[in-house]
Amino acid sequence: MKIVIIDYGIGNVKSIMNAFEDRGQKAFLSRDRDVILGADGLILPGVGAFSHGMNNLNKYGLVTIIKEYVKTDKPLLGICLGMQMLLEESEEFGNTKGIGIIKGKVIKLPVVNSNKIKLPHIGWNEIQTNKIKWGNTILNDVEVSSNMYFVHTYVAIPNNENEILSTTEYFGIEFCSSLKKGNVYGCQFHPEKSASRGLTIIRNFINICK
């Protein structure tokens, strides 16, 4: 089995590689078309600005490769910015086009401006169930209300609510903290930084790829 992490010069990929290795599965870094299409599981990592991420994906011709990979129905996991880029567009720094695998857009966390509210949303927060059951997904065996580690200012809003796997609340705003469309998954939080429960997600993803 081969897990490939998309190498486009963005994100702390070392931690993701370490997390997979900890769960007994080596993950490889690549931006090569054949390697990506030959993967049994694909990871799209990412931190930072949406436009910067998309620019780099486009620069290496990765958008079409990712779309081609998804057509094979093999598992994909987007993490943080990697999840946001799966949507159609983001309002970060004007409108930027995303990969568009998930219908919907990315907007700034719509919290009310107040000196009590901090942005970016940094830290541990709970994930809750939405309409999809967690069994047989990346959240298999993860308890409801588990804490995951978040670092973000923008959130993904899938048009289809049935694609929302979990939600999280921040200052009264409930947002999509993970999503699922067939074998395409996304986590707004960082499973590779979310201690043992995050590592359970990595293990589940490995099992889905088998």
Binding site: N12, P120, N125
Partner: protein
């Protein structure tokens, strides 16, 4: 609701975790990788490695320790001490760090924060501010591990680093650091209410009540703890249970 983070701070000198008082008078307390792993297994929310002498001697030696720590610690890791160039940040991130704490360099060249945030994103830039009280409700920014006064006002500097693109502020009270006499509540209250980025409060935790006090009476987002854990005065688990059960605070268990 977001949880207040409990962070273990490991100050490092010559491959050992060290601890001093008022950032001086250092003594060895253990091996950084063993301590990081132990704290992770006990449920720490985050770990900060600070190269205690790097700013002074103008060097950085943490890379090997970070590489090793990232293999068995799956919570965020921040690295600070001696970050001078964009290249230093890249090296620390490549080693596996999630965030970088910078102090001395940013005071000398505030645009360094802007440049770093533009390249790596604000989420990975922690502005470390060492504050010393100089008058009632007035604190001065110090650099070089609390050795050099800068003439800068802490409140104004905190607002400036926010506007320059820092994603978080680690606020250390030099007066309280290592004393185990509790946090500087007024300092933390003032800064945490004046900026909209998260504040990590550092310096002074001597008993679990001190930590509850600073969380309850200010708007901080995280506490950084050294002595209390290093000298086994408190375990991470018992501290968290106290904050959750006795103080009804939002903490991750």
């Amino acid at each position: 609701m977001n949880k207040t983070r409990i962070i273990a701070r490991l100050d490092i000198k010559n491959d050992y975790v060290i601890k001093g008082i008022h950032l001086e008078g250092l003594r060895k307390v253990g091996n950084p990788n063993e301590m990081a792993k132990k704290y992770y297994n006990q449920g720490i929310d985050e770990i900060i490695f600070m190269d205690a002498v790097a700013a002074y001697y103008d060097r950085n030696s943490l890379t090997g320790i970070i590489q090793k720590a990232c293999k068995d610690v799956f919570v965020p890791i921040t690295v600070g001490g001696g970050i001078r160039k964009i290249e230093d940040i890249q090296i620390a991130l490549n080693a596996g760090a999630d965030k970088i704490a910078i102090n001395t360099k940013t005071v000398q060249n505030p645009n360094f924060i802007k440049e770093a945030a533009k390249i790596f994103g604000s989420q990975c830039i922690v502005s470390s501010i060492d504050a010393k009280k100089i008058a009632e409700n007035k604190w001065e920014v110090y650099i070089d591990n609390g050795r050099e006064p800068t003439g800068k006002n802490v409140l104004e500097w905190a607002q400036e680093v926010e506007s320059l693109g820092a994603g978080e502020i680690m606020l250390t009270s030099i007066d309280k650091e290592g004393t185990k006499k509790g946090f500087d509540i007024e300092l933390n209250k003032m800064v945490s209410e004046a900026v909209n980025i998260p504040i990590i409060s550092s310096g002074g935790a001597g008993r679990n009540q001190d930590i509850a006090d600073v969380i309850q009476s200010t708007n901080i987002d995280a506490v950084s703890i050294a002595s209390l854990f290093h000298y086994k005065i408190e375990t991470i688990d018992s501290l968290k249970k106290y904050l959750i059960n006795d103080k009804k605070l939002h903490i991750r268990l």
